[in-house]
Subunit: 145 residues, 2 copies
DNA sequence: GTACTACTTCAAGTTGACTTGAGGTCAAGA
DNA sequence: TCTTGACCTCAAGTCAACTTGAAGTAGTAC
């Protein structure tokens, strides 16, 4: 497969494929002239990368997990701790979601007067104290359900 | 309150407060000499901003919602649609979490041979097709539970 | 009156994950 | 043979949300 075939089949732009190769996330099996040649494995590999990204791993983390060898050799402990992190994230998001939903229907004259909303605010404020710790996550990823 | 007082009480660095002011997210009530003076409301406002960030709103979106007036005038429809988005995100994260957890205990010789893991991969791959749509979310925000 | 400290402005730098652009190469079709 | 189009490399640009640094000022302590 050439790069555009991989791009078409995976949905990952060619520029991103080159970028991933440069980062060591993927490898081409060789060249035909200038052109990269990939084999079918690349699609699994890309799926694995997409999965990792969805789970909140950085590209560097993913590169470490997938290793330079062909097959992924994923550390099970790491998986579990990531799953635990996801649990925490999910809980955060659920309370925020509930707060939003409540705020949307709350009859208090202004959100600021609603006790539930103020409680949520208090939580958010205390959350703000913990400095860093931002993660990207994919929206609209077809993973839902 | 001066800026360092606000910083201490809110946990938001002074540089960030200046940045937020420049962006129109917050306002100081005046100056003493050069120095900004804030009143107590600022803490609510910052909590609101933190909440918005946790929910996945961008600073621009938050600025629009909070408006230039003092009190937040939040569009209830927008809240609901954000809550719906959060539901989707939560579902995504749950399936990923379950997949990770399964992969961690799965007895298949390699994850690549495990049907459940491969199914998850397939989902991730199809998710990768939807181009953009990344969001930051706060980790370790005290919001959990 | 001078030193110190905490503030000020403004511009530029940082991070992660890419994308874009300029300029070059190569195989195939007219 | 010449042109076209798809690929190539490498450097630079983009975006959001900040942070950092340099250079200046104002109020307080001695």
């Amino acid at each position: 497969m050439d790069i555009s075939e991989v791009a078409k089949r995976s949905g990952v732009p060619a520029s991103t494929l080159r970028f991933y190769e440069e980062k060591g996330l993927i490898r081409s099996v060789g060249r035909q002239g200038l052109r990269r040649v990939f084999n079918g494995n690349i699609l699994d590999r890309l799926a694995l990368i997409a999965l990792g990204r969805s789970a909140g791993f950085s590209l560097d983390e993913i590169a470490r997990m997938l290793g330079s060898n062909g097959k992924p050799d994923i550390d099970r402990k790491l998986l579990i701790s990531k799953a635990d992190e996801l649990d925490e994230t999910i809980n955060n998001l659920r309370s925020i979601r509930d707060g939003l939903r409540h705020a949307a229907v709350c009859s208090a004259p202004s959100h600021m007067e609603c006790p539930k909303f103020r409680r949520l605010l208090g939580l958010a404020a205390s959350g703000a104290i913990s400095g860093d710790g931002k993660r990207k996550l994919q929206k609209n990823s077809v993973l839902a359900k």
